[in-house]
């Protein structure tokens, strides 16, 4: 994870996360993700290898159809970008949406 600051005082933060819950980023996790993202003022963009979508739109997030093991890039732009990225990373990788992870 790196954080950088550009000259126009617009903070951009990026991180890469891996989906860890067994059922992937289905409807309910997508909803949780959007709920967390919406608490911040910054813009949140999420991308997989093909598409970039608005991290505050449940429709667009669920259409990523990210399954367990998928890697997603989260990019936040705005004053509270760092907090947003941290909170989202925690949701995806540590809390894994309060859902079970696959049995190994």
């Amino acid at each position: 994870m790196q954080a950088g600051q550009n000259s126009l005082e617009k903070l951009i933060c990026e991180t890469e996360v891996e989906i860890k819950n067994a059922d992937g980023l289905h409807m309910r996790p997508a909803m949780q993700f959007v709920d967390v993202a919406s608490q911040f003022d910054c813009d949140v963009t999420v991308s997989n290898s093909e598409n970039s979508v608005d991290g505050k739109s449940v429709m667009q997030m669920s259409m990523l159809a990210a399954t367990c093991g998928t890697k997603l890039k989260i990019k936040a732009e705005g004053a509270d970008a760092q907090e947003a990225v941290d909170a989202l990373r925690e949701l995806v990788e540590e809390k894994h949406f309060d859902e079970p992870t696959p049995k190994v």
Binding site: D23, G24, H26, M27, R28, D54, S57, V58, M59
Partner: protein, 579 residues
Amino acid sequence: MEIKKGIAVSPGISIARSLVIDAEDYRIPRRKIMPSQRMTEIQRTRNAFKDAIRELTQLEAAQDETEGGKIKDIFAVHLRFLHDRSLRKKVTDLVHSDLVTAEYAVSATLREIASHFTKEKDAYMRERAADIYDMERRLLKHLLGGKREDVEHLTEEVAVVVRELSPTQTAGFNKKFVKGIASDAGGRTSHAAIVARSLGIPAVVALEDLTESVSEGDTVIIDGNRGIVIVNPDDETIRQYEEYSQEFVELEHKLDAIREKPAVTRDGVKVTLLGNIEFPDEAEMVLQKGGEGIGLYRTEFLYLNRPSEPTEEDHYQAYAETVDVFKHRPVIIRTADLGADKYTQSKRFAPEPNPFLGLRSIRFCLQNLMMFKTQLHAILRASVLGEVKIMFPLITNIQELMQAKMIVRDVMEDLDEESITYNKNIKVGIMVETPSAALMASTLARDVDFFSIGTNDLTQYTLAVDRGNELVSTLYSAADPAVLRLIRTVIQDAHKAQIEVHVCGEMASEPEYIMLLLGIGLRTISLTPPMIPEIKQIVRSVTIEDCNNLARKVLGMNSERQISNYLRDATRKILPEAF
């Protein structure tokens, strides 16, 4: 003006405004709008979202936290979707750019989103499409409001344009106002065809994408003689068709003139013509057309189009009404032939993967004994009103027949205990409509009073062809030598056992098969009422000797094409108007 070609399945001409119905029974409203209507449609979209959100909020609040709040979560997710601005924008943008209605835009947008999920390899993700369809239905419900009711409460004459007509939809029609049927899917023996013929209205099927070309309220001409549907015809075409329609009605009247004459061949052999009906009010038409009884009374309508199972009294009223028309002429009531349709499938947790080889007809009844007994109770109670007979559908082996007959005896004992009178010697027969029943006919004949050959299913099961599937429907033909040999076996075995036998499938309504059927020994035919005069005309024009010769020749032929060409030529000589 647009001309569409399909398959003509029920004769006649209708010129009427269209009523377009989609698979979910919703009317698909006009798709295109004028630029000036944009704002209205966008406002309608917003209102629908607002109404759907209000409804979902109430639903969510009413849920408790059982099952870990899973149901509550589902509503919450749907709510979040409907609140999503980018979704709403997608819909309103479509209205704006493509000039389509709110309904169309909602449906197109959500289906596109759903298609993202159905393409996924992960099964869990694929199932998410169901959530999207659910949201689509909810929004459409709010957009269309009470319009769904209109199918049942028609007040003007319409031509029904539909993707594929289901029995449930048919049961819901106000038949007085339906003047014609046109469907995207289907074949000669599809449900749309059977219904149209029994109602005596024109129908054309297999029009592929007709529902895409017709908007609600467009004028359509349905030409059930040539298999053509004309969308938005010009004045000249309408004039020509009105003239043509007049001539056609005159021919029908000419045939009606033979109503009072007996169905006797030129060499004096009596043939009994019975009618197939689905609704009690069709019984009158059978009489009008010169039918001598009911050879097939389909009772499924009693189960479809109502929220709960019919009561014994519901059954009884329907049967009594029909029997009353015929007094002491035969009325053969077929026990519920449900299955492979919405009725049985909706009762299941998961639909059967192969319903036509699944739990249908007598099999369904034998597993739902309360329902079966209720119907038998009503049939037996009605048996004192006239000459009622019981017929079991889709018997495939002797055990099923024995079981069904045992249940009839059980119900008779119940009636004895209740001191209700019934005909103790009621005749019991079976439909022979599977290859297994046809091959075992000599055995089955010992335990029944009559056979009725159901040629639609017999053809489908013998040739392994789904008659509603356009890709293979050309393979479906009762003129196939394999089918004809089975039919001959059944008729011969019935004669040997000295029991009655008739044919009640669509084959019996088609002029080209009549000489053949008489030639292989059939003397009772049950058919769709509007065709009775035409078939009688054929009976009165032939001799049994001619028929025997024709049958001998046809049964020596090996190809379906050779047989159907030969039969058509032979019939054309007798009744040229039929073609």
